[in-house]
């Protein structure tokens, strides 16, 4: 198994569905951050068979991880400070997601209006339905 204690401060995102780590890397905007990121693909897992792990060395208030709840709420977030796990977070579906997913409705105002934030609102928690705040079109993954 891989050791997480190598991090001084940051996050370990565990139990990512195998193969999904790269898309999470992009959704979180990690490509734009100037910090150490380790992506571990297809790690052995007793629970899941195979899983992906992302380790991010950064200040723990830099990243907004609520969006992970939308992407895959089975992910476990370990928050590391002074080389120790200080918190283990499980995820909930966020009520609102801003600028992570984009409205695909060609008739939506977001398709023409300059620099309008793309905001989606959770309208049905049970069925995990998000709708564009403007045109109310349902987002389809």
């Amino acid at each position: 198994m891989l050791n997480v204690s190598g991090l001084k401060e940051g996050f370990v995102l565990d139990h990512i569905r195998a193969g999904k780590s790269m898309s999470i890397y992009h959704y979180l905007g990690l490509d734009k951050l100037d910090c150490q990121v380790a992506i571990i693909k297809n790690a052995r897992s007793n629970k899941m068979g195979r899983k992906d792990i992302i380790k991010i060395e950064c200040s723990i208030d830099v990243l907004d991880l609520d969006v992970l709840g939308y992407l895959d709420h089975n992910i476990t977030i370990n928050i590391i400070k002074d080389e120790k796990i200080v918190e283990k977070k499980t995820l909930k579906l966020p009520k609102k997601i801003t600028n992570v997913i984009h409205c695909k409705n060609p008739r939506c105002i977001t398709s023409i209006e300059q620099e309008l934030p793309h905001v989606f609102v959770l309208t049905d928690e049970k069925r995990e339905i998000y709708r564009c705040m403007y045109c109310e079109e349902q987002y389809k993954k």
């Binding site: 008739r107 105002i109 398709s111 209006e113 300059q114 309208t123 564009c132 403007y134 109310e136 349902q138």
Partner: protein, 302 residues
């Protein structure tokens, strides 16, 4: 400050108050003739809609206010590429209230976020058209005396017809309303209306208008809109599906009402116009009263 973006922005109680005010305007127009003196309404129409625009302008004029605005996008700054957010910020400096029609869905929401004056959504693409819904509700309540305990048939283009979607959304809030959805299979109401709005309510979907005529208290006819089709052949095949004529009216209740958001193309035969049950021109009149009431409410003058 309040806006009107969706027909559900008002609670049932607020709606009752608004419709009461509209009925009072209908009875005592002179009492309201000067209420908006010194106020300006901006009509921002990025997409032509003569009837809706004139209705707003007539409403403001009858309240003693003034109107500024544009009637098509190409005569406005939008043709130069100005965003809705910028336009509304600027119009906020000129006018006290605005009515906006825009071809893109959600445009009025964007305007409301940046506006310093009340925004009335006068139609945003195929999305919402709340003042049409208010008009429909006022017409039904004024002529039927109630909004609950009715069976309403909605006929024609139920897929793209936003007035239909808005009206369903508004009417599910009243007790014992039955919906009969009459359309060709291609133009059924979208699944989200069936699953999220009508779920748990009394509704049926049929393709035959004649069969269901006798049970209706209200028949809401809609136009099969050419501009919502991508394909001319599909449009021509669909548009003659449901034509209301004298023969079909014979099957209906004595006190049934026929409503239509207008313009009509050929879905209601002209011979029906003189039938006392034809309420679609009265509906236009109610549209002015309800817009007058709305302007007064949003400007906090009543």
């Amino acid at each position: 400050m309040r806006h009107l973006i969706s027909p559900l922005d008002f609670t049932v109680e607020e709606l009752t108050e608004l419709l009461d005010l509209a009925n009072d305007i209908e009875r005592n127009p002179e009492k309201y003739a000067h209420k908006c003196e010194g106020k300006q309404l901006a009509t921002l129409f990025y997409e032509p809609s003569t009837r809706t625009r004139l209705s707003f302008e007539s409403a403001m004029n009858r309240l003693g206010g003034k109107v500024i605005g544009f009637a098509t996008a190409d005569s406005s700054s939008a043709a130069k590429g100005e965003s809705v957010s910028d336009t509304i910020r600027i119009v906020s400096c000129y006018a006290d209230i605005c009515a906006m029609r825009h071809p893109k869905e959600g445009a009025a929401t964007v305007a409301a976020l940046k506006s310093k004056i009340p925004v009335i959504n006068a139609g945003d693409g195929g999305h919402q058209h709340p003042t049409q819904t208010l008009t429909d509700l006022l017409t039904i309540r004024s002529l039927k005396g109630r909004l609950d305990h009715i069976t309403i048939g909605l006929c024609g283009d139920l897929k793209f017809g936003r007035t239909v979607h808005s009206l369903i959304n508004a009417l599910v809030r009243y007790e014992d309303v039955k919906f009969v959805l009459i359309s060709p299979p291609e133009l059924r109401v979208p699944s989200y209306i069936r699953e999220e709005v009508l779920n748990g309510f009394d509704f049926q979907e049929v393709t035959d208008l004649e069969d269901v005529m006798p049970q209706l208290d209200i028949l809401y006819m809609t136009r099969v809109q050419k501009e919502r089709f991508f394909n001319e052949d599909d449009y021509i095949r669909m548009k003659d599906c449901y034509i209301l004529d004298k023969a079909k009216m014979k099957l209906a209740k004595e006190d049934m009402l026929v409503l239509h958001p207008l313009p009509r193309v050929n879905e209601i035969s002209v011979e029906v116009d003189d039938d006392p049950r034809a309420a679609y021109f009265k509906q236009v009149q109610y549209g002015v009263y309800v817009r007058m009431a709305l302007i007064l409410k949003l400007l906090e003058l009543a």
